[in-house]
Amino acid sequence: MPADTIVLESMPSMGGAAARSLVPSRDKRARVPSSTFEVRDLVQETARLADYARVCGFTLRDTVPATWLHVLAFPLHIQALGSQDSTIRLMGAVHVANRMTMLRPVSVSERLTIGVRADNVRPHRRGALVDLVADIRSGDETVWDGVSTYLASGMTAPGDAPDGSHEPFEAVTPHARWRVPARTAKDYRRVSGDPNPIHTNRLAAKAFGFPRPIVHGMWTHARALAALEGSLGSSYSVGVDFVKPVLLPGTIGFSSSHEDGVTTADVTTKDGTKPHLRMRVEAVS
């Protein structure tokens, strides 16, 4: 239960909090603010949605994709991690997993109230994990919720880190191959407002150990969800694990299978031997 709610007059621009969220913290003990950051009656822009849809491969409809709602909540992630009370920084934090649930279809014409709080700081063998928990309401009805898990390398959190073993991955035969040009990250930065330079700047990428910039994990997520466009119901949960970043430019593979109302999909290297992102979509009744 959050201690309090800080209601922002409008969605924060990528200003102070964003800048702060990029500066490494000296305190290595992972700490996050207890507040919920909330923006009310946010108007969605059709033009931006159209741009987002095009960048990620969705069809522009009155009802919006689940990942679009994550994008709307994202400035509040930055606000939460950029707050004075946070020692975890967006820069250097790796988005390792994401879960979101579309509770009912949401129209682009609806005004939305978005709340985000940081929670569940816990140890990981390479640092500390934190969840950014978001919920989106239309009027009083919760229409979407999401949990984004970030790993802050080198940070500490009390307790013992659980054994971090991924489910073993069996090579797949991709049934789609997507070429991802370098400009994808710039396009995605435009539609998402995610300012992290490791996606667009070679030096920044190098500083974090990548030979080249990497595409936003949430772009890969959105692209994979868009590929399932026709089979998504009105209410569904989608979870992804970001296993390995996609270097830009790059070519990636995609495969999916459907069984008992559950769709599993993998974004892999183009030969299908190594996973970049693993996704699971489940209908919600």
Binding site: V7, R61, G139
Partner: protein, 448 residues
Amino acid sequence: MSILEKTFTSAPGRAISRKAGLKDPPRLRRGRTWPSGAIIHGTIGDGSLVADTLHLLGRAVEEPVVDAGTDAPGYGQKIGALVVDATELTSISQLERLRALLRPAVRGIERSGRIIIVAREDHDGWEAAAAARALDGINRTVAKELRGGATSTLVWVAGDTTASDLLTTLGFALQGRSAFVDGQAWKVASTATKIDDLVTAPLAGRTVIVTGAARGIGAQIARVVARDGAEVIAVDIPPAGEQLAAVANEVGGIAIQLDITQADAGAVLAQHVAQRGRGLHGIVHNAGITRDKMLVNTDTARWESVLEVNLAAQMRINEVLLDPDTDGGLDDGGRIVGVASTSGLAGNKGQTNYAASKAGVAGLVIAMSSDLASREITVNAVAPGFIETEMTGKIPFVQREIFRRSNSLDQGGRPVDVAETISYLLDPGSQAVTGQVIRVCGQNLVGA
């Protein structure tokens, strides 16, 4: 945002509100789920109706723990439900038996558990009538005392009501589908129903019209009746066509853009049904509007538009669909479900017009049900209380928070709760339920 709202959501404000008893509401069990703990079967007298019905439902039952008067014995572990067969109740003194059954059960019931009392409505003698009426008070009070999302329901039966008649009702009341129906009482009559099983797709192969289906509660009704097997004809006004199409495509139904107030609306619907080459099993009159103003500011336009959409339009449509000469009209054995409102039953400031229309729906249901009994068409209504939708967000904060919390479950309901109740009424197995208005309100404090 109001100052009050700011205060309420701030840290000290929340601390105060928590002290004031506004805890986080319990999470309700929903869907076609049974209680997880044991189902306890208790009786007052020798009635076997409940036992027979639970047997048809395939539910194993356990013996009740009976309070001897002062020792308050407990169940070892949480129980899922207590179902009391009170059909043989005739005297005041027998009510002590009910107390003795209820006391350990209320104490030991799980979250979202169920207390269900089945009793006779028709009585022989003054004392029997008084004792039966006492059950109503007990049901309402137990519902208010139960915590953790558990609910209480009273089901009236007739002398010759059979287990087949009671099957869908008891199934609904026990399952998560009745999550937001609390402290209510309704009647199961006797019919020639011959079902011996609770099926998961009772509407398979049947066509159901849902008006106002583009969004909110209506869209959820379309989804739930489609889940229960129905072919859905989803209706809404032409400007809502895009959302309507999405709902229709999602549930594999058809979309009709139609203003239900137009003179030929019933004929248009019947023509579509006839075209599809199947009969019409049911219609759910969900479409409705509000034009709220205090009565002193309510003009003719506000008055008439609400009564027209919420009441007059469905009457005209019913008339066409019930005409035996209408090709594509309602089948004998069909279902009509109206959507009333707790505002209609209890009154609500600023809603004279709306309350008039919704109370009218309740009146209509009662009048129609007896007239249509010979054709085995049942007519019922649901009366939603505070249901969380995009519309309720427009209510001012304080009023909204009061509404939302002013019920025994400490929370607003969801559209699916209304939809589940409607689908139960549409069920062909619910033949013995007619002329009833079931409130889906979590036992709202206002109203009867």
